[in-house]
């Protein structure tokens, strides 16, 4: 495996199914579409967006980002361990990834709960419509991500399966959740 891997590297090596990359690119451009619509709407009434944005907690947003970055790191280590045949360690990293994903999930839900308690719902104003829309569609990708990680764990657990390709494919999906969030974070929490 390692040998093939090295040989492939010189000519270019795609981790996992190239098919998943088609999904990643397509979905990324789709999100760019959503982001641009958000930015265009934002230019129509910047004050409203700025005032509403101040109701979000930048700290929670940063915490979310750090958690997802860490989950990305552990899934990358999971792939690395699986490549080297250290399946126990790979499995541990996969569970760790799930764990960080779960922390993100809980923190996102509690953030929504706080905002709703403060009286900011989906249809309160345009900013909050976009806030709930972008975070929710991202959240949906996260939920699908748990299914994907489930497939990764399922592969790693039995010596009979252990398809490295599927492990890498799952990791590619999980990183997508991460990098999409990075942009969402900058657009909803940080920019002015």
């Amino acid at each position: 495996m390692q040998l093939a891997n090295d040989a492939a590297k010189s000519s270019g090596y795609v981790p996992g199914q190239p098919d998943m990359w088609a999904f990643v690119i397509f979905e990324s451009f789709l999100f760019t579409g959503y982001f641009v619509v958000y930015m265009v709407c934002r230019t129509q009434s910047p004050e409203l967006y700025l005032q509403s944005q101040a109701e979000l907690s930048l700290r929670i947003g940063t915490f979310n980002t750090l958690v997802l970055l860490t989950s990305s790191w552990s899934v990358a280590r999971c792939v690395q361990a699986a490549r080297e045949g250290a399946f126990q360690s790979a499995l541990k990293q996969a569970y760790l990834t799930m764990g960080f994903g779960f922390v993100f999930l809980v923190s996102k839900v509690s953030e929504w709960a706080q905002e709703i308690q403060k009286g900011f719902g989906f249809s309160t104003n345009e900013f909050f419509s976009f806030y709930y829309f972008l975070t929710a569609i991202h959240f949906l990708h996260l939920l699908i991500g748990f299914i994907v990680l489930g497939v990764v764990v399922y592969q790693l657990r039995s010596p009979a399966r252990r398809s490295l390709e599927l492990v890498e494919t799952g990791a590619t999906y999980w990183h997508t959740i991460d990098f999409l969030w990075v942009i969402i974070f900058s657009l909803l929490y940080v920019m002015r």
Partner: protein, 98 residues
């Protein structure tokens, strides 16, 4: 090989976290009370995000070893997203001033 790769991932993770903290600081620069547009904050926020995304692509997702097509495609997405976001932002600014 093993250890070096492990170290590389660690460094990448640390760098990403550090940059995230920078955006936290940048985002707090105006004390979050001014409620004013701030092109400098916006530019650095989107700039930092784009850099982070590219690092995730190159390192975590191993695009740096990938065929040229995939490298180009991911870079194209990063570029298109950055320019369209900043483009709309500055066009909006210019429009509201003019």
């Amino acid at each position: 090989m093993n250890a070096s790769f492990e170290n590389r991932l660690l460094v990448v993770w640390l760098a990403l976290c550090a940059v995230t903290i920078v955006s936290l600081i940048v985002g707090s620069l105006d004390g979050r009370v001014a409620h004013g547009t701030n092109a400098a904050i916006t530019t650095s926020a989107i700039g930092i995000a784009v850099v982070k995304v590219r690092i995730i692509f190159r390192e975590f997702m191993e695009v740096r070893h990938a065929p040229i097509l995939l490298r180009r495609l991911t870079d194209a997405w990063v570029l298109v997203t950055a320019t369209s976001l900043l483009g709309t932002y500055f066009a909006g600014l210019a429009f509201s001033m003019g």
